[in-house]
C-alpha cells in the first residue's frame, strides 16, 4: 500500500481521474467543484494524461459534449455543482436515456436563491429522478474510492447508466484529509479498459443514438432504465466486494453502526454520517440504545437493505440536507417507503438540517435522539431554524 497523503476531496477525485485517464473530460468550472477540473487541466497540459479536455462554455454544453463523446465510444468524466447541475437538467435525462455511462463528480452545493456557495444536497436531490445512479461519500477517502467504484458500476454491461459521485461541498471538497492513494497499476487493473457499446465511430455498424420515440415506444425505453437501476444494486455489491479484496476497505449500499441491539436509529448521508456515529458513541457511553445508518447508494435506493435496519426498531430519525417545501424531504420519503409494508414499523421522523452550509453540531443531533426516544417531534422537523 502506498504512503498516506493529505489532499482535499476535489484533488482526490482529480487524482483518481488521472489514474483512470478517461478519453474525454468536458466541464465548466463552478465552486466548489473547480479544483477538480483545474487540477485535471494541469494534468492534461503536463501530458501526464492523454484525455481530450474540453473547456465548455456552459454546463449544458459540457454535458452535451460528454453525451456525444460517450456515444462515440469514449470513457467520459465531468464534474459540476449546484446551479451547474441545474443547468444540465435537460441533458441529464438525455444521457441516462441514451445509456451513456458518464461519471460525474457532484460537489454538493445548495441552489440559489438566496445565492449561497455552501453545502447541502438540494442540487443532487433535484436530479434524483433523472435516471442517474447516485453514490455519496463521507470523507476524502470515500470520494476517491467512490470514483473508482463508479466507473465500474456505470460501465457494467447490465447497467450502462451515468453516475454521480456526490461529495459535500467545502466540507469534503476543500478539507485536507489523510487518505490512501491506490497504486496506478492497481487502479488500471481494477477499472479495466473501456468497452464501448455500438460506438458511433464504428462506421461498419451504423447506429442512430437518441431518435424520437412516440407514445408507442417512449414508455418501454424509459422502463429500460428501471431494469438497469435494479441490476445496478447487485452490480454495486459485486464491485464493492472486489474493491474490498483489493484495498481492505469494505463498503455496502447502506451501512449500519452499532445497530444490532439498537432501539433508535439515525439515518444520514454524506459527511454528517461521521458526526452521527460520534453522537451514537457518546449516547452509548450513557447506556442509550442508539445506532447510526449511512446511505451510500441513493439511486437506486436499496429499499430492502434499509428495511433490514429498520425492522424491530422503536423510532428512526432521517436527516435530510435538502427540503421539499410542502412535504417530507427526499431521503425521508425513501426510508418511509422502505418501511411501507413492514408490520410494526418504527415511528419515522424527518429532520431537515444544514441548508446552505449551516453547521450541524453533535449537541443538536443528541437532542434529535432525545426527541425520538421521548416520542416527540413532528413528522417533518426543521432542525435549528429560527422561527
Amino acid at each position: 500500500m502506498s504512503e498516506p497523503i493529505a489532499v482535499n476531496g476535489d484533488m482526490a477525485i482529480a487524482m483518481a481521474w488521472k489514474q483512470i485517464n478517461p478519453d474525454v473530460v468536458a466541464a465548466y468550472p463552478i465552486t466548489p467543484q473547480t479544483i477538480i477540473v483545474e487540477a485535471f487541466s494541469d494534468f492534461v497540459a503536463d501530458g501526464t494524461v492523454d484525455s481530450e479536455y474540453v473547456c465548455a462554455e456552459s454546463e449544458h454544453s459540457a454535458l452535451s459534449i460528454c453525451v456525444g463523446s460517450s456515444a462515440a465510444g469514449a470513457r467520459v468524466a465531468t464534474a459540476t455543482a449546484s446551479a451547474g447541475l441545474a443547468f444540465m437538467w435537460e441533458m441529464l435525462y438525455v444521457s441516462s436515456s441514451m445509456r451513456t455511462p458518464i461519471v460525474m463528480a457532484v460537489a454538493n452545493r445548495t441552489l440559489s436563491g438566496p445565492i449561497n456557495i455552501h453545502c447541502d444536497h438540494s442540487d443532487a436531490m433535484g436530479a434524483r429522478d433523472s435516471g442517474w445512479l447516485q453514490i455519496f461519500g463521507e470523507n476524502v477517502q470515500e470520494a476517491y474510492d467512490n470514483t473508482l467504484l463508479a466507473f465500474r458500476i456505470a460501465e457494467h454491461m447490465k447497467v450502462r447508466l451515468p453516475i454521480m459521485t456526490c461529495l459535500d461541498g467545502f466540507i469534503i471538497t476543500h478539507a485536507l484529509e489523510r487518505f490512501e492513494l491506490l497504486e496506478d497499476e492497481k487502479v488500471k487493473a481494477f477499472v479495466g479498459p473501456y468497452q464501448p457499446v455500438r460506438p458511433l465511430l464504428d462506421v461498419k455498424t451504423p447506429t442512430t443514438y437518441g431518435p424520437i420515440a412516440m407514445p408507442e415506444y417512449y414508455y418501454e425505453i424509459k422502463y429500460q432504465i428501471v431494469t438497469a437501476m435494479m441490476n445496478a444494486m447487485d452490480v454495486t455489491r459485486q464491485v464493492m466486494a472486489e474493491f474490498a479484496e483489493l484495498t481492505g476497505r469494505k463498503y455496502d449500499l447502506v451501512e449500519g453502526y452499532r445497530t444490532e441491539d439498537a432501539e433508535y436509529l439515525m439515518v444520514a448521508m454524506g459527511s454528517t454520517a461521521g458526526t452521527v456515529r460520534f453522537v451514537v458513541d457518546q449516547l452509548r457511553a450513557q447506556g442509550k440504545k442508539v445506532g447510526a445508518v449511512k446511505v451510500r447508494l441513493f439511486r437506486p435506493f436499496p429499499t430492502d437493505d434499509m428495511a433490514k435496519f429498520l425492522k424491530g426498531k422503536k423510532a428512526v430519525a432521517v436527516l435530510d440536507r435538502a427540503m421539499s417545501p410542502g412535504t417530507g424531504a427526499p431521503l425521508y420519503m425513501d426510508v418511509l417507503e422502505s418501511a411501507s409494508r413492514m408490520k410494526d414499523a418504527p415511528r419515522i421522523s424527518n429532520y431537515v438540517y444544514g441548508l446552505g452550509g449551516r453547521d450541524i453540531m453533535p449537541g443538536q443531533l443528541s437532542t434529535v435522539f432525545e426527541d425520538i426516544m421521548a416520542g416527540k417531534g413532528e413528522r417533518v422537523n426543521y432542525l435549528g431554524v429560527r422561527l
Partner: protein
C-alpha cells in the same frame, strides 16, 4: 415478454440498422381516411397535385386510390376535388 417490449428493444431506443425509416409507416397517425368514388372521379389528378405527401396512387395516368401506409388523412384531396369524388371517413368506424 413481447417482441416490442422494453427488454427486446435496443438500449436507449437506438436504431441499429441503416435506412430503417423506410419501415416507419406514418399513415398510423391518421384519424380520418380518404375514400374515392370512381363513378364520379374524372381523373383530373388535382388530388395528385395537391397531396402534400405522395399518397395518391396513379396508374396509366388514372387516379387508382391512396397509399394508406403514408397518407396522414389531412383531407386536402377531398377539399380540392372539383367533382366531390373524395370523402373523408373516420378511422376505426365501419
Amino acid at each position: 415478454m413481447s417482441s416490442n417490449g422494453s427488454s427486446s428493444l435496443p438500449a436507449g431506443g437506438m436504431i441499429t440498422e441503416a435506412g430503417s425509416s423506410k419501415k416507419y409507416k406514418t399513415g398510423e397517425w391518421r384519424s380520418e381516411r380518404p375514400e374515392v368514388d370512381k363513378e364520379k372521379c374524372t381523373n383530373c389528378l388535382t388530388c395528385w397535385i395537391y397531396c402534400p405527401d405522395n399518397s395518391i396512387l396513379v396508374k396509366d395516368e388514372k387516379m387508382v386510390g391512396f397509399k394508406y401506409s403514408h397518407c396522414k388523412g389531412c383531407g386536402i384531396c377531398a377539399n380540392q376535388c372539383p367533382v366531390k369524388a373524395i370523402t373523408m371517413k373516420e378511422e376505426g368506424v365501419e
